[in-house]
Symmetry: C2
DNA sequence: ACCTCATATCGAAAATACTTGATATGATCT
DNA sequence: AGATCATATCAAGTATTTTCGATATGAGGT
């Protein structure tokens, strides 16, 4: 069972690892296939798969299956949710809108 | 030596741990002394100190010494920098402003 | 100078996260 | 059906992070 804190932490785990930041940088060019990512990054295929799972669970990345391939892209909704959450977490309770 | 990715990750480490999210929640009520935080949270004094260091290094929290006491508060500049960075990391390169 | 209080740092143990080769799954092709 | 390719999952090792008691530092108070 996840606490509210664990759920919030999950969102930002996407940005807390060097490899995942590298992956996000590549995805800023647009949707990419896992095979492209594993080729462009210096990591084992199973390692990429591990990081992609974390990125998808954070909501920051969306995946799409197409036959043998899995395509990944940055999620607009997930990203704007993260921005909203980050603002909430750092806004004083007394502050009026 | 920190890579650019490590520097970016440092910012979001603030939000990746349950205890730090609890601390931030308390700080949303305004500036608080370390002794207040350690009293309100269920953790050893050395553990709080460890997390406060990470929060300060992320730029999200500012500290202020006052005699024996250390006061912590959420940093407006640090927070808005984090929001800006988060937006950058999730914005497609092709997207126009 | 000595004592106490608040906080930071150290060191070692415990808990988590990351990495990778091996294996499983599931799609496509012959 | 059998072979191959892309990806996911597993299991075990390695690395990093978190925790906490003990100790150090440094500000006040007596």
């Amino acid at each position: 069972m996840d606490t509210i804190y664990e759920k919030q932490a999950k969102v930002f785990k996407a940005f807390c690892d060097e490899k995942r930041l590298q992956i996000l940088e590549l995805l800023r060019d647009g949707e990419k296939c896992a095979c492209t990512l594993v080729y462009e990054l210096d990591m084992a295929q199973s390692t990429l798969s591990y990081h992609m799972k974390i990125l998808c669970e954070s909501g920051i990345v969306d995946s799409r299956k197409d036959g043998k391939w899995t395509h990944y892209k940055i999620s607009k909704e997930g990203s704007s949710f993260a921005v909203k959450l980050l603002k909430t977490l750092t806004t004083l309770n007394t502050a009026k809108e």
